[in-house]
Symmetry: C2
């Protein structure tokens, strides 16, 4: 680190951080359909032309926000057993979705993805990164003979999150501790029963 | 039925059908954020004042569309075993979500629900009706001793749909026959393992 705290690329990184934070704030307050680059520039105290030149469109900005969320995504924790790993993952998703700012932000980027293919690609990438991050917990469970060989890690990880997002986006039921616990237990039970093995597809 | 095919309330019902079909078309084409009552009236060939008087706002219209979708929702089929019932349910959800018009319509009403509390209530009601419709398949499975007593039917039904919506809204993975089959198998395996019993909450 250079003297005085100025790193090479420091300004560019600071501008990005400020703009992405401002974009997140705007999304949480007004949603995707009223996201506006000039408003984001004002909030970030960054020149409007900088924002237009670097991000171009609101969907370009949402895509970069999602790329940043993927980069910042908390690393998987190793808890020594399948159920403990899946429980940790379920609680992480639960905490994110019930957090007022983060829950609103996820709703906004999911809305953006339904309207725009670039935002959709960025959202799919975000979930691909999250799933890849947690893949080792399933691979280790197979090595420990907790799960049948050939279990698809992505399917197990998706199964943990799906009931929580179902409640956030569709049914409106609370996303409480019991929900997270059942999501982890259900994914583990289905995986143990061989539902997510590749052979399972042909049943 | 009265002579000449004119039933009491016939015109009102016809207007509602025309307006809700037009609202569905507009949502599929342009999404919720560009839904416009005057445009819907034009498409439905119904007077603008009729639409404004009866539905008031775009969210009022989306709420009524969802109420109608709940009324039109296909009844549960009885297939004689838990897995066959859950498979039928999973295939119904799969067919709906991969259908171009219906998939787009669901995306649009889900977006509406993230923006507006009245649309959100209508969406929650829609899923409550669908879950209630399929509750007997779990109750019968308990009577047949396929599932432990105390299994929460709503949790089992939600578990069948959740992975399909996860793919539609979040990960973008295909919603194919194998996905529907795994969703049914996973919900059945978790239910058999006792994950969805009321006692399961306190583990």
């Amino acid at each position: 680190m250079a003297v005085g705290g100025t790193r090479p690329g420091g300004r560019t990184a600071r501008v990005r951080t400020a703009v992405l934070n401002a974009a997140g704030d705007a999304l949480v307050e007004h949603g995707f359909d009223r996201l506006d680059l000039a408003d984001v520039a004002r909030r970030a105290e960054v020149g409007k032309t900088t924002v237009y030149r670097r991000w171009g469109t609101v969907t370009g900005l949402v895509a970069d926000l999602l790329a940043d969320m993927a980069e910042q995504s908390l690393p998987r924790t190793d808890n020594g057993s399948l159920i403990e790993d899946l429980r940790a993952n379920a609680r992480l998703v639960q905490r994110t979705l019930v957090d007022q700012r983060q829950g609103a932000l996820f709703r906004a980027v999911i809305v953006a993805a339904t309207c725009d293919s670039r935002a959709a690609e960025a959202l799919h990438h975000f979930y691909a990164v999250r799933i890849a991050e947690w893949t080792p917990c399933v691979e280790q469970a197979i090595q420990r003979a907790e799960l049948p060989p050939g279990t698809d890690p992505a399917e197990v990880i998706r199964a943990v999150s799906a009931p929580l997002y179902y409640r956030l986006l569709l049914s409106g039921d609370p996303i409480d501790d019991a929900t997270a616990e059942r999501a982890a237990q259900a994914a583990a039970a289905a995986a143990r029963a061989g539902v997510y093995t590749t052979a399972g597809d042909s049943r």
